[in-house]
């Protein structure tokens, strides 16, 4: 038996103890929310520390440039009045300030770091600073000037207007230089300008990465769909056994896999040998299957296929075979039944698999490096190079940030076109 709830003067519904019902509901919900929050707190902290923080750090590094303003503080200030396009070197005051700043930097052993930072922008500055370090620390500043001549004597590089232009351009605490660099541009005499054509590479790589990742994703769908379908329609014992085969790529080390691909795909490899043997290709026109884009696509498809098959399989398992029977009983041919009834229901699996494969392949760099030759490498290979080898972490961060934005934009587009709730892992 229900009783009519009490109401107060304002017409609000009251609960049994007289407080407004809304208020006590909120109180109850708040307690629930707090408890939920406490439950996910460990994960939340973990994600913040291991994921959000590094990404923020990366975003910061892609614009951070405090090394120069911090360590050449006076030089940077005085240099502001100098016009690099005047055709003249900065004034003696700049050189004197520079001598002073440099001496302190040398004592802190950061002058070589400034040198290598500026060397990213203009080759030669690295050794300029390194060599200057040995001399400048002996100078008696400000008594043994004038420093313009002293620096010029020390190394003719200091009499190069371009060196000073570089210092001035990169004197701010923050810079968009890394981002410009990432899109094949640079900070020139009059603001941003395109890099010389023989140095343009990143846009090409971004586009190539996207196109090849799409190709890999499509190939994974084409190859993975029938496999997942067979698996989903087999008795579960057989399916589990075959699933091991699908997961096999995960169990082999990268080295084993790479050698396997080489044995298979190289000019004198198994595939070519077989093709030549059965006379499909001539001995002197063997197929180039490795060290190019084909190699990357084959190898990456092989690695990433399980990421397509697994979500597809688990989605397909939930599609009851009676749908197909129903369609056929309604007069649909096998193909129509599949295409109109089964396939649409498996799209969430394709969506999930594609997102996984696409995002993973965009970030892969080891495999392309090993089997991609020159035309099959991705933007991530350059990012890895700048992190591991050139130590230009700012540029790596800018490239990474752009990649992140591109991925998020694609994700957004996917959501708009297909709908993100149309993604299912099982």
């Amino acid at each position: 038996m229900t009783s009519v709830p009490d109401t107060d003067a304002a017409g609000r519904v009251l609960s049994a103890d007289g407080t407004p019902l809304k208020q006590s509901l909120n109180r109850a919900l708040r307690r629930q929310k707090l408890r939920a929050l406490a439950l996910i707190a460990p994960l939340l902290i973990f994600v913040l520390v291991s994921f959000v923080a590094p990404i923020l750090d990366m975003l910061f590094r892609s614009v951070e440039n405090q090394l120069i303003s911090d360590n050449l503080p006076q030089t940077v200030v005085i240099l502001e009045d100098w016009d690099p396009n005047s055709g003249e070197l900065p004034s003696e005051a700049v050189f004197e300030a520079f001598a002073g700043d440099l001496q302190i930097a040398i004592s802190k052993k950061v002058h070589t770091r400034i040198g290598s930072r500026l060397n990213y922008e203009k080759p030669g500055i690295s050794s300029l600073f390194r060599k200057a370090g040995r001399q400048v620390k002996k100078w008696d500043i400000p008594n043994d000037g004038p420093y313009k001549e002293k620096f010029a004597d020390l190394n003719k590089g200091f009499a190069d207007i371009e060196v000073w232009r570089t210092i001035k351009t990169y004197s701010g605490a923050y810079t968009n230089g890394y981002f410009l660099n990432s899109i094949d541009m640079q900070k020139g005499a009059d603001g941003a300008e395109a890099r010389p054509e023989n140095e343009q590479i990143y846009i090409t790589l971004f586009i190539r990465t996207l196109i090849m990742s799409l190709a890999i994703t499509s190939l994974c769908i084409l190859l993975g769909y029938p496999v997942a379908w067979i698996l989903a329609n087999l008795p579960s014992r057989t399916a589990n056994l075959l699933m091991i085969l699908v997961l096999l790529p995960f169990w082999t080390s990268l080295l084993v896999r790479t050698s396997a691909w080489k044995v298979m795909l190289q000019d004198q490899g198994v595939v070519n040998e077989v093709l030549v043997w059965i006379g499909l290709v001539a001995d002197d026109s063997r197929l180039a299957l490795i060290n190019n884009q084909t190699g990357t696509i084959i190898a990456m498809t092989h690695i990433l296929l399980p990421f397509m098959i697994l979500p597809l399989y688990s989605v397909m398992q939930t599609i009851s075979p009676t749908y197909l029977r129903a369609a056929k009983s309604l007069g649909a041919t096998d193909w129509t039944a599949f295409w109109r009834v089964y396939f649409p229901q498996s799209i969430p699996g394709i969506g999930a698999g594609s997102i996984l494969v696409f995002i993973l392949s965009i970030g892969y760099y080891i495999t392309p490096e090993l089997v991609g030759g020159t035309k099959g490498v991705f933007i991530s290979n350059r990012i890895a190079f700048h992190i591991l080898s050139s130590l230009n972490w700012g540029l790596a961060a800018a490239l990474g940030t752009i990649l992140l934005v591109v991925v998020m934009a694609l994700y957004w587009a996917y959501d708009k076109i297909v709908g993100i709730d149309n993604v299912k892992l099982g």
Binding site: E199, Q268, L370, T374
Partner: protein, 369 residues
């Protein structure tokens, strides 16, 4: 280390022991970083095992991270937690680490042992100390090798054969980076050896080198791991290719592949230790003790029993003996052997420290085209 043991040790070791006592407490664990494989193994045999035999209770673990040492050291430095004690790097990386303040500057005469005849370390190592932080160990070279059965009647004698696709058709493997390739390209384009770097300094010179490389671009398989070229040669995938001389040694002498190597225009390079900056006193004391031992004349000569790289000390050269397993004389396989070193090329560290990023960008752009 007990006193009796110290007494029993060689005179050189007494000096080492003396320093150790003077410095007080030494850590007993060391983390050494190297390249793995045969090279790391030679270091283990020649340096670490004898050192541990003389210093009971000391342990050394290896970390095979030399390829990423620069980046990892920078990351450790930023995190304020240096876990490595001694790092094996190529000279170019040593310069970079020194510039970044990530490696400790050393004083060769104080930190390294004198030669047996009393020559100071700074003299014995000489020019090979290319950076204030660098402790040289070996000289190796990057050079060209070819399949003896695939080059026809006239075997190549010059490095420029790599650009001669008429005489030597087929694929060739080169390292996927500008260093060495740009130099070879200029030399084979007619630039005198001494002018190579001044030409390469200019944009036109860089264009010229790339243009020369362009003539064989379609025939090149670009490698990024030292094991690639030996494998490609063994599989008959390439007729010739570049790699480190030690790799050729094992391919030819140990695996008996139909491969021969050229010493012509071999590019010398150096590999050695750096000590990370900012080690705590006890670990620093231990690692200095080890380094002094591991880079003395005998130890460097010993390493060549296991791998065909030349010791970085002048005084070690006469002590180079036979290969530990194969029993063959190692001297003729050293890149520094006079017979091999008739036409060599010394890699210019200073130049590449300055131009590496710039030329690399152009090189990669050229590759991607």
């Amino acid at each position: 280390m007990t006193f009796t043991r110290t007494l029993l040790a060689t005179s050189a070791l007494v000096a080492v022991g003396g320093t150790a006592f003077a410095d007080g407490h030494m850590a007993s664990d060391m983390t050494l970083v190297s390249w793995g494989g045969a090279y790391q193994n030679s270091q283990q045999k020649a340096y670490v095992e004898p050192y541990i035999a003389m210093n009971e209770g000391v342990t050394a673990v290896w970390d095979e991270s030399s390829a990423e040492a620069v980046a990892k050291l920078r990351a450790m430095n930023e995190a304020g937690n240096i876990t490595w004690d001694l790092v094996d790097v190529v000279a170019a990386d040593a310069i970079r680490l020194c510039d970044e303040g990530l490696a400790m500057e050393i004083n060769p005469d104080e930190d390294l042992a004198d030669a047996p005849d009393g020559t100071k370390a700074s003299v014995d190592f000489g020019d090979l100390i290319v950076s204030d932080c660098f402790i040289p160990q070996i000289v190796y070279s990057t050079t060209m090798g070819y399949r003896t059965d695939l080059v026809g009647d006239t075997a190549p004698t010059s490095v420029c054969a790599v650009f001669d696709t008429e005489a030597y058709p087929g694929k060739r493997s080169l390292e996927k980076r500008p260093i060495n390739n740009m130099e070879w390209a200029l030399i084979c384009d007619g630039v005198a050896k001494d002018d190579v770097y001044s030409v390469l300094e200019t944009a036109e010179g860089q264009e010229r080198a790339l243009a020369k490389l362009d003539t064989i671009k379609d025939d090149v398989i670009w490698w990024s791991a030292g094991a690639d070229t030996p494998q490609l040669l063994a599989d008959g995938e390439v007729v010739m290719g570049s790699t480190y001389n030690g790799r050729f040694f094992s391919l030819i002498e140990e695996q008996k592949q139909p491969v021969a190597m050229l010493w012509d225009a071999q590019v010398f390079d150096l590999d050695g230790w750096i000590i990370p900056a900012g080690l705590p006193a006890d670990r620093l004391a231990r690692v200095k003790d080890f380094v002094k031992f591991a880079t003395d004349t005998q130890r460097l000569a010993d390493q060549s029993k296991y791998i065909s790289y030349g010791p970085a000390r002048l005084s070690s050269a006469p002590l180079v003996g036979k290969h530990a397993d194969l029993g063959i004389d190692m001297a003729p396989h050293m890149p520094t052997d006079p017979a091999n070193a008739t036409n060599t090329f010394l890699y210019n560290y200073e130049f590449w420290a300055d131009y590496r990023d710039d030329i690399d960008a152009k090189f990669q752009a050229w590759l991607a085209k």
